[in-house]
Subunit: 384 residues, 2 copies
C-alpha cells in the first residue's frame, strides 16, 4: 500500500497535544489524516485533513468515525473499546490492538497482566470499591503506606493518591481501584519500545524521570538516564518483554521503578507516544511520533539513538493562576543555546495544567542539566 | 508583544512547501497564521489558521490579505511589492522589508546592488530586451560563453540558460535580462544568514551544493561543506556583508561560487528559508524555519551549529513521468539509518518537478555521503 500523497486514510482518536505532534509527521509525509475529539478547540483541529467533533467514549461516535479509515490509532487510551473491536472485526486495522488497550485501560487488569506474565511489578490488591479498603486494613490484609489508584480513567496524576493514614482515604471516589505497595525507589525510569505490524522491534534509550513532589507530574525527563549500564540493560529487557507479551503494535512507553537494590519494577504503560519521549523530537535520530507512524503502517523502524543529550521540562500552569495564559520570560529561554519550547495551544491555564514542554539539548549532559534547571527557574506559565 | 497562544497574527504570502515547513514552527509555538496562495490545493491550506485563495502578484489581493496581520512575511519573492509598500506605510511590519525585496526581485537590480556595495560577483551586462544581446556580441561587447538570466521571475532553473553560441539565444523570451560571465568554479556554496528586527545576526555553516547537470536544480546539499576553513570563513563574511548591506530582516540565503583561485563570488540570494537550508531540520540546533520566525518576531536568534553532519537530496520527478505521483522504494530508504523523507504533498509529478527532499544525517560525514548516494539511487518519483 502507498501511504504518501495517496488515498490512504489514517484515523486518530484524540486531538490533543500528542495528536498535534503526531500530525507534524503525517504532514511531513503527506499522509491523509482524520481526527476526532470532543472539543471543537482541540489543538489538532488544524493540520489534520478532516476533523470530527465527537466523544471518544461514545460507541456510535467512534464506530462511525472509524468506518472509512484504513488504519486507526489513538493519542489517548480512554476510548470506546467496543466500537474499536467492532471496527477490527470489520477489517479496519486498529493499532494499538483493542486487546492490548483492554489490558491497559483498566489498571487492575494491567497489574494482573504483569503478574500473570512474569513481569516484575510492585505487590498490589484489587478492590471493587474504595470503601472495601478500610476493612482490609482492619483485617491486616493491607498496611500503610500504599498507593491508591483508580482502576479507570486516571491521567496527569489524577486518580492516584499516596495513602499514609486512614484519613487519606476520605474524599476518594468509591470506585474500582487497586492498593499498591509504595515502592522505595532510587529512580523512576522509562523506556519506549516500538513494534511494527511485521514484528520488528526497537527500543529507545532509558530515560530518567524526576517528578514534581506535589502535583505527581513529571518535571524533568533526562535522556540518557544517568544510571549504571547493567540497570539500563535490565530496564530495556523488561520493557521489551512487556511489549512482546502485550503483542503491542505501535509505541509502548513503559514506566518503571529502579528500587534501592536495583530491581526493575514496571509501574505502568502507555500504548502511544508519551511525555517521556518528547525529548526525541530534538535529540533522537527518529522522534517518537514518526516512529509510531512507521510502526502502525508497517514501515521499517527508525534509528532510536540520540544525536545529543536531551532533557525535557514540562511547562505547567503556575499555582494561583487560572485564566488566559501568558508565558513569562519566553524570550529569556529562547536566548539560551539548544532550548526549544513547544506550546500546546491551550488558551486557558490553571494550576499544574500541562501547557507545553521545553526541550534542552547539548552534546554535554552536565551542561544540558544545568540549563534545564535555569529554564525551569526562568519561565512561568501565568494568567493575565 | 506576546506571540504564543495570543491574538497576534502572522501573515505568510505563498502556501507552498516552504510555507508548509514554516507552519510546523508556528504550530510548535501556537502562533496564529494566515496564508495566501493562488492554488486551492496549496500544501499550506491545512495547518494554517486562515487560508485565503488569491494571486500573490495582484495588488488588491495582497493588500487586503495583509491589512489585518501584525507581521507579514513571504515564502516566495514574486509578490506584489506596491501592495507590500502600502501595507508597510500603514504600519504593518513587513519582513523581508519591501526595499530588500525590490533589490532582490529583479536580477539586474540585484547584480547592480552587489557592484555598488563592493560585494564580489561575476561581471555582467544588463539588457532591456534579449534581442539586444546579438548586437552586443557583434560589437564585441560580449563574448561566449555567458549565462543568460531573465531579470524577473526565474525559479527552479527556469529563466536561466548557458549560452555558448548564437543559436542558444533562439527561443529565449524577449525580456529584460542580464548576460553574466560564466564562472569557472570549484564549488557552489551557500550560507544562510539570519538577522532579527533588533539587528542581531547569526550565520549558519557553509554548505556545498551539487547541481544536476541538466535540470540546473540542486541535487545534494552537504553541511558542512568539505572545503578549506579559510574559504569557509571568507564565504561567511561575504554572506554577512550582503545581509547587512541589504538591511535584511529574516533569513538571507546567499548562493556563491568558489572560483578555481578560491575567490568567493555572490551568485544570487533568497530572502527566506531556502532549499540549501532544509538539512537544518534534522541536523541543526535551530532549523532555518524556526530561525526565520525568531528573526521576524524580534526574538533571540537560535544556535546555528549542527548536531551531526547533514546531506539533503532533492526528490524530483523522474524524466518521462507525468501524472499521479508514486514514490518507488520509499520503504527501502526508510530502512536506512538517519534517513528522513519529506513529501511536499503535490499529487501530480512531472519531469524535474520538486516533489520533496530527503535528509541524511550521521555523525560521520563520509558515511552520510555514501548513504545519500544510495538514497538517490534507490528512490524514484514516478507516475502510476
Amino acid at each position: 500500500m502507498q501511504f504518501f500523497s495517496s488515498d490512504f486514510k489514517l484515523g486518530i482518536l484524540g486531538g490533543g497535544q500528542l495528536g498535534k505532534m503526531m500530525l507534524y509527521e503525517t504532514r511531513k509525509w503527506d499522509i491523509y489524516t482524520k481526527v476526532m475529539d470532543a472539543s471543537p478547540e482541540a489543538p489538532c483541529k488544524i493540520a489534520c485533513n478532516e476533523f470530527v467533533e465527537g466523544s471518544l467514549m461514545d460507541f456510535d461516535a467512534v464506530y462511525n468515525f472509524g468506518k472509512d479509515v484504513d488504519v486507526l490509532t489513538i493519542e489517548i487510551e480512554n476510548v470506546n473499546l467496543d466500537a474499536l473491536e467492532k471496527l477490527e472485526h470489520e477489517g479496519i486495522k486498529v493499532y494499538p490492538p483493542t486487546k492490548t488497550l483492554r489490558t491497559i485501560q483498566n489498571k487492575a487488569t494491567q497489574k494482573l497482566f504483569y503478574t500473570d506474565h512474569g513481569i516484575p511489578t510492585s505487590p498490589f490488591t484489587r478492590f471493587a470499591y474504595t470503601s472495601e479498603i478500610e476493612d482490609s486494613i482492619h483485617n491486616g490484609g493491607l498496611d500503610f503506606p500504599f498507593v491508591w489508584k483508580s482502576a479507570q480513567f486516571g491521567y496527569d496524576g489524577q486518580g492516584v493518591k499516596v495513602v499514609r493514614k486512614m484519613e487519606d482515604l476520605e474524599n476518594l471516589p468509591n470506585v474500582e481501584c487497586i492498593a499498591e505497595k509504595l515502592v522505595d525507589f532510587k529512580n523512576e525510569l522509562a523506556v519506549i519500545v516500538a513494534r511494527n505490524t511485521k514484528g520488528e522491534v526497537v527500543t529507545y534509550p532509558v530515560v530518567e524521570m524526576e517528578f514534581h513532589p506535589e502535583a505527581n507530574q513529571v518535571e524533568y525527563v533526562i535522556c540518557p538516564a544517568r544510571i549504571d549500564e547493567k540497570v539500563a540493560k535490565k530496564a530495556q529487557e523488561v520493557a521489551l518483554k512487556v511489549s512482546e507479551e502485550m503483542k503491542q503494535i505501535g509505541l509502548l512507553a513503559v514506566e518503571m521503578f529502579q528500587t534501592q537494590d536495583d530491581q526493575i519494577l514496571v509501574n505502568e504503560v502507555a500504548p502511544r507516544p508519551h511525555n517521556s519521549g518528547h525529548y526525541s523530537i530534538e535529540a533522537s535520530y527518529t522522534n517518537q511520533f514518526e516512529q509510531h507512524i512507521r510502526a502502525i503502517l508497517g514501515l521499517p523502524l527508525g534509528k532510536t539513538e540520540s544525536k545529543v543529550a536531551g532533557i525535557m521540562v514540562n511547562l505547567v500552569g503556575a499555582e494561583g493562576h487560572t485564566g488566559n495564559v501568558v508565558y513569562e520570560n519566553m524570550e529569556e529561554i529562547l536566548g539560551m543555546d539548544g532550548v526549544t519550547p513547544h506550546i500546546y495551544g491551550k488558551r486557558q491555564t490553571r494550576p499544574f495544567r500541562k501547557m507545553g514542554h521545553v526541550t534542552i539539548v547539548d552534546e554535554d549532559m552536565v551542561k544540558a542539566r544545568a540549563m534545564a534547571q535555569k529554564v525551569k527557574e526562568t519561565i512561568n506559565v501565568v494568567s493575565k
